[in-house]
Amino acid sequence: MPVTDNAVTDNRTPGDLSGSDITGAFKSGTGTRFTRLLGIATIASMALLIVFGLFVSPADVIQGESVRILYIHVGTVWVAYLAFSVTALASAAFLWKRTTSLIWDRIAGASAEVGVLFMALTLFAGALWGRLAWGKFWVWDARVTTTAFLFITYIGYLAVRGLGGSHHQRGRRSAVVALLAVLEIPLVHFSVKLWRGLHQDSSVTDTTKVKLHDQMLFSLFIAVIAFTLLYSWLVIHRQRVMAMQDALDDKGLDYALQQRRDEGDG
């Protein structure tokens, strides 16, 4: 149904968020002075990682050049575990009555999204490295298997977030699922460990018992810093985009209600 201008008293379109409190600080996007500095620091540390990881640090005595994959692998797996921990803590904060706020829900969601992405990268880089180091893409090691389960579990978590309903409904539902994942993961890890323990020793630790070269250790350190900065930058922005989406949903609803009311008046 066409709506003429004079029929709409509130002539803001659904996309116009100018009156919203949540987005008041980021009218021109999700960037602030802080995130810009964070972004620059991320790029600088990534550049440093490339220099150290690819050129300065030596090739491994046993693994050769393939050891460089580990700088990516360790950095991303650290971020993935960090992200899922943040999701769990933010979910607990959302469910706890004294601190309940949708911001915790959005942080949990943003962190889980970034975590799933980095977990995928971890599995990919790990498989490539495994092919070179062990001759196969996958081993049924307890740690590797738990990681794969984490990945699937948080894909499920993201699916739960997408179920719809009100923002608070989404928040409560997904927060409960995130906390149940905290119950599930140690059980999976323990059971897989017990399962492998009865069959064969894990082969992961065999090749990595070598003492690390100083420059390798430093490259790993830079990798962890660089990926942590990237994680923070991504989560802050994603969280703000989610806030805007939520505000847009509310606005869209108000707008639709207003239209119906005007139809009634007309």
Partner: protein
């Protein structure tokens, strides 16, 4: 809470007894899965060796359909809303539905075990009977609790048929591992000894305890709208 649980469980089981969906649809489904496994693995010696694992795998697949069924009953005609509106304790609903689900699963597992003995000539020995019964009780409780919890979450939302397996299967992986190993020990599959099975029963018990408590607490917030 226990009174509510008993009422809900009795109601669910009465519905299943009268509608005969479990006996006429889920049990034949589980049986055909067992036959399909035999087709897929071809040789007799292989299915005999992996029989315990196949029993539990078929149980998991059937669990998915049982859970869907258990909550389809609740969401039809807004039964859950009515229960909530009447101020029924969510913990009671959770335990009641879990008990009813456990009873159905127990029947199903017995049939599957029997099928494995007949079709796969799975070994069976009396010395492992205590371990076998304990394993089946613990695993059934675990599956029923987790199934009810995630079934309640997925009930009444769009796309629940596809969401439930994605959420449920990773969580029940420890039950699959634990129950399979313990059943192998009880039956003596591939020369396993009975004593090996008890640590797996321990794992299953921990699982039941954690999800029993966790589920009772979490079910309320999950079904509240």
């Amino acid at each position: 809470m226990l009174r509510v649980a008993r009422l809900i469980a009795a109601k669910d089981l009465r519905i299943e007894l009268r509608s005969r969906v479990v006996t006429n649809q889920v049990l034949p489904f589980a049986a055909i899965v067992m036959v399909m496994f035999a087709f897929a693995f071809n040789t007799d010696s292989v299915v005999q060796k992996v029989a315990p694992g196949l029993v539990w795998l078929a149980t998991l697949f059937s669990l998915l359909t049982l859970v869907q069924r258990s909550f389809a009953v609740e969401t039809a005609d807004g039964a859950t809303d009515a229960l909530r509106g009447a101020g029924v304790d969510p913990a009671g609903i959770f335990l009641g539905k879990a008990i009813a689900l456990a009873a159905q699963l127990a029947v199903l597992e017995l049939v599957l075990l029997f099928t494995a003995v007949v079709l796969y000539s799975a070994e069976f020995r009396l010395s492992g009977l205590v371990l076998l019964v304990t394993t089946f009780v613990a695993a059934t409780c675990g599956l029923a609790l987790v199934g009810t919890l995630y079934g309640g979450l997925a009930a009444g939302v769009r796309g629940r048929e596809t969401l439930l397996p994605l959420l449920l299967l990773p969580v029940v992986a420890p039950v699959l591992i634990g129950a399979t190993r313990a059943t192998e020990a009880a039956l003596g599959t591939g020369g396993a000894v009975v004593a090996d099975g008890w640590s797996w029963v321990g794992l299953l018990t921990v699982f039941v305890a954690l999800f029993g408590v966790g589920g009772t607490l979490a079910f309320g917030p999950l079904i509240e709208e």
